[in-house]
Symmetry: C2
Subunit: 142 residues, 2 copies
């Protein structure tokens, strides 16, 4: 299946018609060699740089939300004033570099399974995420 067809497929499955703007969003999100993390503002900037298409904020938000609902994108819980999204939808964890404000993936196999001994009656666990905040290691201070 060609890339464009994959995008059209993802869009259709998300309940969206494949329009010029939405396919451009797909190209940026799903054509990358690697998965990546982004904020909406960053995504808009990438689109503006890569294409001569103008895409409105509203369309970007709507499309990102539709993809999230379908599981093609994940939102990363971070204490920030803006949302971070992830094109890596596999189960994994994160470092958050507090100085660079950057997320770094930690593959699932690099963390022993998180075993929680406590349960809440009537509730089940839907996901477990680890966030390790990192800062510069100034070895000077021993």
């Amino acid at each position: 299946m060609a890339y464009a067809d994959q995008y059209i497929d993802k869009l259709r499955k998300s309940g969206l018609r494949p329009t010029k703007q939405r396919i451009k969003i797909c190209e940026v999100l799903f054509d990358a060699d690697k998965t990546f993390h982004f904020t909406i503002k960053e995504l808009v900037k990438i689109i503006e740089n890569q294409a001569n298409i103008k895409v409105s904020l509203a369309t970007v938000y709507n499309t990102v939300h539709a993809f999230m609902k379908k599981g093609y994108l994940k939102e990363i819980p971070l204490n920030a004033s803006q949302s971070y999204y992830d094109t890596n939808v596999s189960h994994h964890h994160h470092f958050f570099d507090e100085e660079e404000n950057k997320l770094i993936d930690i593959h699932q196999e690099d963390v022993d399974e998180v075993k929680i001994k406590r349960t809440i009656p009537g509730k089940k666990i839907r996901s477990v995420e680890v966030i390790a905040k990192i800062v510069s290691d100034n070895q000077s201070q021993k």
Copy 2:
């Protein structure tokens, strides 16, 4: 040391003068039998209900931030449009009930130490937090 003195102590150590408003904030935050989680809006509501003191939003934000800086409060990373704070500043983890939008503590001893095998050169880990999202367990669906 009497409660009020403890509050005055906390305030002074946070670089704040002990004023009527700030002592009231302390009463709500640190006089509870148990630690708890709150949003700024909730905190303001509690103060309004418990006291006939009016405290402005600005004062609440400033005081909460000063306490955070000093380590008397923690901010919980949650994917939400508003910040959640925690009066439990010990190292622990959380359930987040996605239906009730409520945080529940998981004591450190209820989670095996999270061992991360990957390291980032020049960086050191400052904190590791686990967030387990929970939802109703409709046992009907096997």
